[in-house]
C-alpha cells in the first residue's frame, strides 16, 4: 500500500505516525513545503528567545527514520490529479498513491488595505520563515504595529515585547481576543500588556499604510485619521487554506476542503485533515483528523467523534485563561453565572441545564471537565451543586480496563 501525505504539521505528522503503527509494511511518503517539523503555535516562543528553532520540533528529531517514512521536504505540490491518483510536485516529479491525505494547512491572509500588501516590513506570522524574518527585522526597528488582536496577533505581541520594542495593536473588534474572551477577560490582558508598554486601538480599522521612498513601512493611518509611526507591521489577519493545487470540481470545498467524520473527501482514497479543511483550524482537531484519517486509510473504520473547535487555552504574562464555547449569552433565555475571587474570574453560560460556554481566568485547574460537559452538551440539572463546584467526581465511572468514563 502506498500512502502519500501532503503536509508535515500536526495533521500530517499524526497521520504518518498512526499509519505506521497500523501498517508496519506500507510505503509512506510525506511531502512538505516546510524543511523542518515545527509547531507553529510555538513560533512566538522562538521570537521571544524562549525556545530554539530545534525545540519547536514536536515530533522528535528522528521522526521520519523512527517511523520509516520517506520525506520530500521543501517541495510544494503543483497539481493533484485524482483521476490518475497522482500528485505532481513543483520540481516536476510525479508521485502516485493508493491513499492520499491532504494536510497542506493554510497560509496567512493579508487584507487588501492600501500599501499593506506592497510595503516592505509587513510580515504575517504563520510559518517558521515568517518568524525568522521578524526576528531579524526587529533588530533594526523600534516601533511595531500588530494588525489584528486575535490569538496570532497577541502571540506576536508576546514575542515582540521581549525585544523591548514599542508595540501598537490595532483591532477592528471592540476588544482584544474578541473570539475567545468577553470584555472583562480581555481587559485583564489589556491591562497586563499595557504595563509592558503596549498601546491598543480597538474598534477601529486600518485606513492605509505609508511607505518611504524605498517602500519600507513608515506609518499607518487609522480609519478615524490618527497617524501612527511604525517601521514594521505584523499582519495577524486570518488564514486561508492551501488548496491551489486542487483542480476545480474535483474535491468539494467550502472555504476549505469538505470531509466527513471519517476524514474522507468526496473523492475516493483522498482524505483531508487539519487547517486545509473547513473545520475549526485548531491543533487538537488537526491531530485527531490525521489519526482518524490514518485508520480509515488503512481500512479500519474510525469516526471523528470530537470536532468541537470552540476551545482555546491562553497563557500570556502568567495569566491563564480557558475559553470554551460561547463567551457571551446570545439572549435572555441563557443564564450567566459569574464568580470573582482575587485574580480569578469564572463565567458559565447555561440554558436548560446544559452549559454552552465558559471562561475561566486565573485558576484553570481541572477545567477539562467543563470542556467535556460543553462539547457533549451534558445536562447537569440533576447535580445539586454550585455550578463552579461540579467536577468529574459527579460523573465518576471506571471501565474494566481502568479508564474513566462519564455516567450521565
Amino acid at each position: 500500500m502506498k500512502y502519500l501525505i501532503l503536509g508535515a504539521s500536526a495533521a500530517g505528522i499524526s497521520c504518518g505516525k498512526t499509519l505506521r503503527e497500523l501498517d508496519p509494511n506500507g510505503e509512506i511518503t510525506v511531502v512538505s513545503a516546510d524543511n523542518r517539523i515545527y509547531s507553529r503555535c510555538m513560533l512566538h516562543h522562538m521570537m521571544g528567545g524562549e525556545k530554539s528553532v530545534e525545540e519547536l520540533n514536536f515530533a522528535g528529531d528522528d521522526f521520519f527514520s523512527r517511523y520509516n517514512i520517506s520525506w520530500i521536504k521543501e517541495t510544494r505540490v503543483q497539481k493533484l490529479k485524482v483521476g490518475e491518483k497522482t500528485v505532481q510536485l513543483e520540481n516536476g516529479n510525479i508521485l502516485s498513491y493508493d491513499k492520499l491525505l491532504i494536510a497542506t494547512g493554510a497560509h496567512a491572509f493579508i487584507p487588501p488595505i492600501s500599501n499593506l500588501r506592497e510595503g516592505k516590513g509587513v510580515y504575517p506570522l504563520r510559518n517558521l520563515e515568517d518568524a525568522l524574518a521578524i526576528t531579524e527585522r526587529v533588530k533594526k526597528v523600534k516601533d511595531v504595529l500588530v494588525l489584528g488582536a486575535g490569538l496570532v496577533g497577541i502571540d506576536a505581541v508576546m514575542g515582540l515585547i521581549k525585544h523591548g520594542l514599542h508595540v501598537t495593536v490595532v483591532e477592528v473588534g471592540d476588544r482584544i481576543l474578541p473570539m475567545q474572551l468577553d470584555k472583562l477577560a480581555a481587559s485583564n490582558y489589556e491591562k497586563l500588556l499595557k504595563m509592558k508598554g503596549v498601546t491598543f486601538y480597538t474598534g477601529i480599522g486600518l485606513q492605509e499604510v505609508e511607505l518611504d521612498e524605498e517602500n519600507w513601512v513608515k506609518a499607518v493611518k487609522l480609519q478615524e485619521g490618527r497617524r501612527i509611526n511604525c517601521e514594521m507591521i505584523i499582519a495577524a489577519t486570518g488564514i486561508r487554506p492551501n488548496i491551489d493545487f486542487i483542480e476545480k470540481d474535483t474535491i468539494k470545498m467550502d472555504r476549505g476542503i469538505l470531509i466527513n467524520d471519517r476524514c474522507m473527501t468526496n473523492v475516493k482514497d483522498v482524505y483531508g485533515a487539519g487547517d486545509v479543511c473547513s473545520t475549526s483550524p485548531i491543533w487538537p482537531i488537526a491531530v485527531k483528523q490525521g489519526t482518524v484519517a490514518a485508520y480509515n486509510m488503512t481500512g479500519t473504520e474510525k469516526r471523528l467523534e470530537d470536532s468541537f473547535g470552540l476551545k482555546n487555552s491562553l497563557n500570556f504574562l502568567e495569566l491563564q485563561t480557558v475559553s470554551l464555547g460561547l463567551t457571551e449569552a446570545p439572549d435572555d433565555s441563557f443564564t450567566v453565572m459569574l464568580q470573582h475571587y482575587k485574580n480569578n474570574y469564572k463565567k458559565v453560560i447555561c440554558k436548560d441545564g446544559v452549559i454552552y460556554g465558559a471562561i475561566l481566568q486565573g485558576d484553570i485547574s481541572y477545567c477539562g471537565v467543563l470542556t467535556y460537559l460543553i462539547k457533549n452538551k451534558i445536562n447537569i440539572s440533576h447535580i445539586d451543586k454550585d455550578i463552579f463546584d461540579i467536577e468529574y467526581s459527579d460523573f465518576f465511572k471506571m471501565k474494566e480496563n481502568g479508564e474513566y468514563e462519564y455516567t450521565v
Binding site: 509547531s39 484553570i364 481541572y366 467536577e391 479508564e403
Partner: protein, 163 residues
C-alpha cells in the same frame, strides 16, 4: 488484515492504578505520598514541607454531589486527549508501557492539555504556572507510592503482566 498486530496489542491491559472508590475515605495519604515521592528535598515523609506550595500532588481527591470522596488519578488513557492536544511534543504516549509521559522541558506552557483532559486530572503548577502537574506512575519505582500508601486498598495496581 492490516493493523492486526496493533489490535492484538491493544487487547493487553496496560498497567494502571485501579480505584475502588467506595473504599476511599479521603485521608489524602495518596496525595502526601505523591508529594513526598516527587519532593526534590528527599523522599521521606519527614522531608516534606507541608507549607511549601511547590509540593503538589499529581492526583487529587474530589467530592461528588453526595460529598463522598472520589480519587481523581491520571488514567494514562488509551486515547489520551492531553497527547492529541499537545503542540510541543511534551506529552507523549508510550505504546509499550501505556504510560503518558510529560516532559516539562519540552512544554510550552499552553495548558491545552489542562483544557483537554475530560476527567479534570491536570492543572498548571501553583507556584510557577509553567509546568503541568501530571502523574508519572513514579517513573521506575516498582509500585507507585500512592498505591503503596493507600491504607484502605482503594488504590491498587492491575495489568501490565502481558507486556
Amino acid at each position: 488484515m492490516m493493523g492486526k498486530e496493533k489490535a492484538d496489542k491493544g487487547d493487553d491491559i496496560m498497567r494502571r492504578i485501579m480505584i475502588q472508590r467506595d473504599l476511599c475515605m479521603g485521608c489524602l495519604n495518596c496525595g502526601l505520598a505523591c508529594m513526598a515521592e516527587h519532593n526534590e528535598k528527599g523522599k521521606s515523609i519527614y522531608d516534606l514541607d507541608l507549607e511549601d506550595l511547590k509540593n503538589e500532588s499529581r492526583n487529587h481527591i474530589g467530592l461528588d454531589k453526595e460529598r463522598r470522596p472520589v480519587p481523581i488519578f491520571c488514567r494514562h488513557c488509551d486515547e489520551p486527549e492531553c497527547v492529541y492536544t499537545c503542540m510541543s511534543g511534551a506529552m507523549t504516549k508510550d505504546n509499550e508501557t501505556g504510560k503518558v509521559a510529560y516532559d516539562e522541558n519540552k512544554c510550552a506552557s499552553c495548558f491545552m492539555c489542562v483544557m483537554a483532559c475530560s476527567y479534570g486530572v491536570l492543572k498548571p503548577d501553583d507556584v510557577g504556572k509553567k509546568v503541568v502537574v501530571k502523574c508519572d506512575m513514579c517513573m521506575d519505582r516498582e509500585m507507585p507510592r500512592c498505591v503503596e500508601n493507600c491504607p484502605t486498598g482503594c488504590l491498587y495496581i492491575e495489568g501490565g503482566n502481558q507486556a
